[in-house]
Amino acid sequence: MKMPLRLLILVALALPTAAVAQRGDPVYVEDRLNQLQQAISLLTGQIEQLQYRNQQLQQQMEKMQADYEFRLEQVEKGGGRPGGAPGARPTAPPTAAAAPQAAAAAGAADQVYNDAFKKLQDGDYAGAEKGFRTFVQRNPQHALAGNAQYWLGETYYARRDYQNAMTAFAEGYKAYKTSPKGPDNLLKLGVTLANLGRKPDACAIFARFAQDYPRATDLQKRRIVQERQKNGCG
């Protein structure tokens, strides 16, 4: 807030040369004042935005750092689980599911999906959220709808907005149970519930996994076992 004031003084000092001819014309003075006020509010707005971005970047950096440390630790331990425990790191999701190829549908829809996915990878969670939501709303029957619903949940999860993440994952489980992302989605629903302190609900979700997804990958099954242990599920 201090910055624009200093700028104002600079600009004010720079004025006189151009002003000589019209000095004293009250309309001119009024105009300049208006222009300066507008310039200041523009700068104020820009500074606010920059401060905000800066803060966001800082938070993201911290998260990334935590992520690296976690991964390094895993490597040092020799465990080397590629994905790590799902609940541990609220950073960008693992690799892109080879989803885009799966869809042979219209280009426009794919474009929305791909853009959203790109934003997710860039850490623009709000942008990704909007994209995935739009995609699911417009293309609820699309082959990628289940994926989009899952990633929508991830955009909240990454921002620690567990309440919305829970809603999105639950919706995913309800509407796209058989989607390729179904097992990941259910797993993440459980993890999110645990994060919300709702362990009994989380355990109930984990308990469903084997029955709903008998053909899940070993990795997914292992994570379920880990999560059940972590949350003290019976």
Binding site: I40, S41, G45, E48, A126, R159, M166, A170
Partner: protein, 445 residues
């Protein structure tokens, strides 16, 4: 307006005591008599509300309770025509299997008796799933208060089932709009939350806008023009006596008033030379304190639930955005960073969320964000939606919708309520077009 609202309500006692609960073991039923509103998806709780015994007023009370619960979106009131058990004794457990058969999770029964010019209402909520009484209360009041008694019963049921405080025993102040747009009559009205007992607080000879309740509901603050369209000013008016006072007489326009949560202060905008800033006034001593000083428009201030902060709307950064500052001024920080313009911030009575109006890409929306600006969620949108206000439980919002004008005729303006998950929106009935709703706290009992 003319009669003071005194009643014998406070005598409230439970009647849980000696009722035999000899019902059988709980059969596995589909529906439960509890609901977690924060759950991502749920079915409304099916509930059967039997006409209360005791003349017509018994049936009337049951009707109001049904209406309240159904309108919350969390309950499904089962049609009385499908009830199997008829002539139910309000003091005996209902025949649970017959209620399970029609899919009810809960049954509400009650009776109205008269004694010494007052009416006494008892009710019980039976949990059909477990076959037990879930809650039961008894109230005494004057007969003309029967609607309030019904709302209080609905609140008790809502609380028992959702775990949240109810909001049915509340009022709504709003701006009633009539006449052609170019010469629209805008007057302040107050009604019960369900649209009943509507009455006018200003006479319509001057434009009156933005009413807000004091925490005791005894006073409202609002902005009104003079009768010959003189400069708008902020007025404080006693709801029952109708007595109104000017809150400070300033050379410029004063507007956008709102009470502090403890009712001792009113925050508002005052403009001078075309520039609006935020001021806080002590209601008793009328001392005025300036809180913002910027060449921008600073308006729509609202206190946090604990009264320590103020959220407001400013265009100091070029477009309307939301800012939070200390309630004594200073420490301003911007909290809205999404695309579009943000306006009319209102802090939830629970303190967790701030609701707002957002204008982006030519359309209007009502949304909520956390108090730090994160987690923005849009709940409703339209050609023009504006002015959210919180129910006292912080779980439901009311706002207004305006349809586009066409052919020189005004589009309709209506009040709507929506829960904070954005799942259930419904129109709130009003006798005229209506805008600027202000939801009251729970009516003191």
């Amino acid at each position: 307006m003319n009669t003071r609202f005194d009643m014998m309500l406070p005598r409230r006692q439970t009647i849980l005591g000696g009722v035999a609960l000899a019902a059988g073991t709980a059969a596995p039923a589909a529906a439960q008599l509890t609901i977690d509103m924060t759950k991502p998806s749920f079915e409304p709780v099916p509930i059967a509300i039997v006409d209360f015994k005791g003349d017509k007023v018994g049936a009337d009370i049951a009707g109001v309770v049904r209406n309240d619960l159904q309108n919350s979106g969390l309950f499904r009131s089962i049609a009385p025509s499908t009830f199997i058990q008829q002539n139910i004794d309000p003091n005996q457990p209902p025949r649970f299997p017959e209620w399970r058969q029609i899919g009810a999770a809960g049954v509400v029964v009650g009776q109205v008796t008269t004694a010494g010019g007052n009416i006494k209402v008892d009710f019980r909520l039976w949990d059909v799933v477990v076959g037990q009484q879930a809650t039961g209360l008894s109230f005494t009041s004057q007969p003309n208060n029967w609607r309030r008694l019904a709302h209080i019963i609905a609140d008790a049921i809502y609380k028992r089932v959702t775990g949240e405080e109810g909001y049915f025993d509340t009022r709504v102040a709003y701006v009633s709009e009539t006449g052609p747009l170019g010469a629209r009559v805008k007057r302040i009205a107050i009604m019960d939350q369900d649209g009943f007992n509507n009455r006018y607080i200003t006479d319509g000879r001057s434009i009156a806008l933005t009413p807000r309740f004091s925490p005791t509901l005894q006073e409202i603050v609002y902005m009104a023009y003079g009768e010959r369209n003189e400069q708008p000013r902020v007025y404080l008016q006693n709801v029952d006596s109708g007595r109104r006072e000017l809150l400070g007489n300033f050379p410029g326009m004063s507007f956008a008033p709102r009470f502090s949560p403890d009712g001792t202060k009113v925050v508002m905008s005052i403009s001078a030379d075309g520039n609006s800033d935020i001021y806080q006034m002590d209601v008793r001593g009328r001392a005025l304190q300036r809180l913002t000083n910027s060449p921008a428009i600073d308006t729509s201030p609202c206190y946090s639930n604990d009264g320590t902060q103020i959220v407001f709307n400013s265009d100091r950064g070029g477009t309307q955005q939301l800012y939070v500052m200390s309630a004594s001024g200073g420490g301003d920080r911007r909290i809205s960073f999404g695309e579009g313009r943000y306006a009319t911030p209102v802090w939830s009575p629970r303190g967790d969320f701030i609701a707002f109006t957002k204008i982006s890409a030519g359309s209007f929306g009502i949304g909520v964000m956390r108090a730090d600006g994160s987690g923005e969620r849009m709940l409703a949108s339209g050609f023009l939606v504006e002015g959210p206000t919180w129910a006292p439980n912080g779980r439901v919002l009311m706002f207004f919708r305006q349809q586009p004008n066409s052919g020189g005729r005004a589009g309709s303006v209506t009040l709507h309520q929506i829960d904070i998950t954005g799942r259930f929106e419904r129109q709130v009935p009003t006798p005229t077009d209506a805008s600027d709703p202000a939801w009251s706290p729970l009516i003191p009992q």
